[in-house]
Structures are given as C-alpha cells and as structure tokens.
C-alpha cells in the first residue's frame, strides 16, 4: 500500500503487472524500463531455481508537491505460484493487467481476471484501479477490442483498455501512466480518509521484497518449483545474450583492470571497422552512462582532453584520454540500435551494482561512434591501464 516517505519527501506507490503466463508481463516491464531509462531486475534465481517477480524503481512526476516513486513489479503467472501472486497483488495501488490478445491467450485472460477481481475484493481501503493492457495487438488473429469489452462487461469490470505490442514497446508507457493516475486517485482517497501512513515503504528494493516474501511463505512454495520447471525467468531469457557479453565488459572495467581479458576472447571476431570511432565525451545523454553521477563527472573531465585511440589485432579499441583515463571498447560492443545498447548497459550496470556496490573511479558509457552506431566504452584510471596496454604486444599504435 502507498506510503508517504518521511525522508525522501516522496509518495511511494506500487504498480503490479498481472496476467496469465506468457501474456507479456515481463516483456512489458522491460519495455517500460527501456522507455523510462530505468533498469529492471529479477531477484529470482537463487541457485537458478525460483521465480518471484521483476522489479523496476522509477521516480517521476509530482503528487501534491511530493515526487512520485513507483515500485513496478510483475507477478508470477504460474498457477502453482498463485499464493505468491496473491500476496504481491494485495500490496498494489494499481494493476496493469496484461491481456493476451491471441485467441489461445484470451481464454486464459478470463480466469486470471476473475482471480484478480477476487483478490482485490479483499483488499482494504479505497478500490485498486486496473488498466487492461491488451497486448499482442500485432497478431493477425488478435481478438477484436469489442470482444475484450464484452468479456469485461460479462465480468462486471469497468476498466480502461490500452492496446499494446510490448515486444516493440508500443502502448506500454501509456498503460503505465494510466495506472499511475489510478494509483494517485487511490492515494488521494487514502489521504482524505486518514489511512495513509508516513513511514518507510515495507520494501525499499527488490531484495527487501524478496526477503519479505520468503519470510511470509516460509518455504511453502518451494515444492511448486520443480527442477524441470522454473529454472530461469523470462527476464533472463530477454537479457541472456547481452548480459553475457556485458558481464565480460564489466569484468574488465570494474574488475581487475586487465586488458588481457579482452585478448583472451574469441579470436574469430571480425575486424571490420575501418575508421576510428568517436570517443565518448560530455555530450553523452542521461541514461547512457553508469554510474550516472560519478560517470558524468568522469566524462566531464575527459571532455576536451586529447584522446588517442588505437586498435589491437582482435579489433578492440583502446586509448588514453588526457593521460588520465583509459578507454576500452571490445570489438563487438557496438550496436546499430541505441536501445539495444542501452538495455545492455542498464541491466548489467544494475546487476553489477547489486553485487559490488558503488564504484567511483570508473564508468561505462554508450556513445555514438560517429558512423551511425553506438559503442560501449569502459573508462577507468589510466595508471594501471597504461601498464597493461604497454605490455600488450598486440596493441597497435597508430
């Protein structure tokens, strides 16, 4: 339930993404994170086993002079995890119900909407608003909107419908803003009736919520997770390829500062970049540098300094800026689509931050390469880098 954070001068609301399995809940949350420039994390996978929820934290907008902090979660859709789904829904201030518009998925929507209605009936306080995000509208056989409205009428539900194609990010942000408005309506009513609390939210991050769920469940749902079943999350599916690539990038910049990590990679990477890419500078936009504040300071310092770039035999770009900063960009860390690059940057940054905390003297940046693409750069202090670069026999000076 919403609370007024006494320290942050914010109102904290929770938006839950509900729906049948495979309707597009996680895809929607990931697309939303991309649109808002915020990362999504999934605290599932304790030993690669369980699935709990996806988590996105975003602060934006204003409610009566307070910033609006949105805790966005998606609930597990599997029937075996229904108690967990129920607990997560009970804490929400608004629901985005992701409906599957395909004929097969539409059938499941009915039972899940029914279940949702029953859960929300038991929630105390003002009503919890629902937005139906009719997903997969790009399917040729998508169920007409009239039939969806008939379904809602039949269930006695009066809720707004927003069409979406979550895989392309279409309609996702509107559904979210719509849900925020509904949540704020509820908050207004909570304030009016004196039911809102001024306190820290019960869960301040994904880890808090995970611990809360584990404590409440007491392992009761462990049996529902079979070794053959929930071995990984949908989020992991969406992020697997870039995450693997980026973990290597992050290991280089945030780990041991060892250029040899690059040189040990697959040597079959094509060296096909004829011209020198543009180096990152202070013009890199918000959301494309991590950590955001310290990284921005590094970029500011780096800007205007002479940058000398060269390429090694594997096609990785390396260089030193102003004698103070080392820049490395692996050969394949280049993206035609800026959003694809940003997704890699954001998701990996968050997961790394969760593991190792704050790093103030280095950063990772996604910057235009001057040839219409975007390249990920690792920037770290040059003193250790100079040594490594000098030692690397395959570092080709220009």
């Amino acid at each position: 339930m919403a609370v007024l954070d006494p320290n942050g001068e914010a109102v904290v609301i929770r938006i839950a993404y509900d729906g049948a399995p495979m309707a597009g809940k996680t895809t929607s949350v990931v697309a939303l994170g991309r649109s808002l420039g915020a990362g999504v994390e999934s605290p599932a996978e304790v030993g690669g086993r369980t699935l709990y929820f996806d988590w996105l934290d975003y602060t934006g907008g204003l409610f009566e002079g307070r910033r609006i902090r949105c805790q966005v979660i998606s609930v597990p859709g599997q029937a075996s995890l229904a108690p967990r789904r129920r607990r997560l829904l009970e804490e929400a201030d608004a629901i985005v119900f992701v409906g599957d518009s395909t004929p097969a998925g539409f059938h499941a929507d009915r039972s899940y909407l029914n279940g949702l209605t029953r859960v929300l009936e038991g929630v105390p306080g003002p009503p919890v608003g629902i937005v139906l995000q009719a997903n997969k509208r790009d399917h040729a056989d998508a169920v007409p909107l009239d039939r969806i409205r008939e379904l809602l009428d039949g269930l006695g539900m009066r809720i707004g419908i927003v069409e979406s194609v979550a895989t392309q990010g279409e309609g996702v942000r509107e559904a979210f803003v719509f849900a925020v408005r509904l949540a704020l309506d509820r908050v207004r009513e909570l304030v009016r009736t004196g039911q809102i609390q001024t306190c820290k939210p019960s869960a301040n991050c994904a880890e808090d919520l995970l611990n809360e769920l584990k404590r409440v469940e007491g392992g009761a749902l462990d049996a529902a997770v079979t070794p053959q079943g929930l071995v990984h999350t949908r989020l992991a599916d969406l992020q697997q390829a870039p995450a693997n690539e980026m973990s290597r990038v992050f290991a280089q910049v945030l780990g041991e500062n060892d250029v040899t990590a690059i040189t040990q990679r697959n040597e079959s990477i094509a060296v096909n970049e004829a011209r020198e890419p543009a180096a990152p500078d202070a013009t890199v936009a918000s959301g494309f540098v991590w950590p955001p504040v310290d990284g921005r300071i590094i970029l500011h310092e780096l800007s205007g300094a002479p940058v000398r770039l060269a390429r090694n035999a594997r096609g990785d770009w390396l260089g030193v800026a102003g004698g103070r900063w080392r820049l490395i960009s692996p050969a394949d860390a280049v993206y035609d689509d800026i959003e694809a690059g940003r997704t890699v940057l954001v998701n990996s940054a968050r997961s790394h931050a969760a593991r190792q905390g704050r790093v103030a003297d280095r950063c990772v940046v996604l910057a235009a390469d001057g040839a219409g693409r975007h390249r990920l750069w690792n920037i770290s202090p040059a003193d250790s880098a100079v040594t490594n670069v000098a030692v690397g026999s395959d570092f080709v000076a220009d």
Partner: protein
C-alpha cells in the same frame, strides 16, 4: 492518451522546424509523468522539469478558477534570459507539450507555429 511512438514522431517534427530545442516532453497533467520525452542536453533533467511544470499548470488553473474565469487555457509561455519555455495543451486537456528552446536559435513565432502545426496532427 496518445501512443508514445506517435508523440515522439511529433516531437521529432517540431525539432525539425525549430532550431535550438533543448528538450521536449509530453506530460500527463495529473501525475506529471512524461508520456514521451526527448532531451538534447545531458544536464537538463526533463523528468523533473516536466513534473514541476505540471504543478505550474495546475496552479494557473487554480488561479483562473479563483478569478472565476470561464476561459480555456491554451498555452503558457515563460521567457528566460536565454530560453523560451512553452507549454501547450494537447487535445483533451489531460496532457500538455512542454518545450524548451534557446532564444538564440529561434523566435517565439516560429516556436509557436511549429508546435501548433504538429500538435494538430494528433488532434
């Protein structure tokens, strides 16, 4: 509420007609959340600007109500020493376009004309 993609298209068209655009957003009036946003300057926090401008609009509406003005609010213009900030309502009145542009790059007539022309597309 309009689709984010359609709104970003409108923003791109406006920027095509106006030089010196610092940032543009379409903002939900009720929550101050951005429905679409594009900033050309890394030091310009568009989410914060949008949120506080939504409060500005709400305050102006309260003033109009207090004055018992029955008129509609079409747009709001704030002139800074080096920038224009223009707020223009979208059809329906539940959201508005907020644009900040360098005075050195454009003038008020061009800015208003471009915004009106391209917002008409989503009318």
């Amino acid at each position: 509420m309009a689709n984010e993609k359609a709104l970003l298209d409108v923003i791109a068209k406006i920027e095509g007609d106006v030089n010196g655009v610092v940032a543009t957003a379409v903002v939900d009036l009720d929550s101050g959340m951005t429905l679409a946003a594009k900033s050309n300057r890394s030091d310009f926090d568009l989410a914060v600007a949008s949120a506080y401008n939504s409060e500005l609009v709400k305050q102006k509406m309260k003033i109009m109500k207090a004055l018992n003005l029955k008129d509609g609010l079409e747009d709001m213009l704030l002139t800074l020493s080096s920038q224009f900030h223009l707020i223009k309502f979208l059809p329906g009145g539940s959201s508005f376009l907020y644009i900040a542009a360098e005075k050195a790059g454009t003038n008020l007539a061009i800015l208003r004309n471009a915004v009106a022309k391209h917002l008409a597309v989503i009318a």
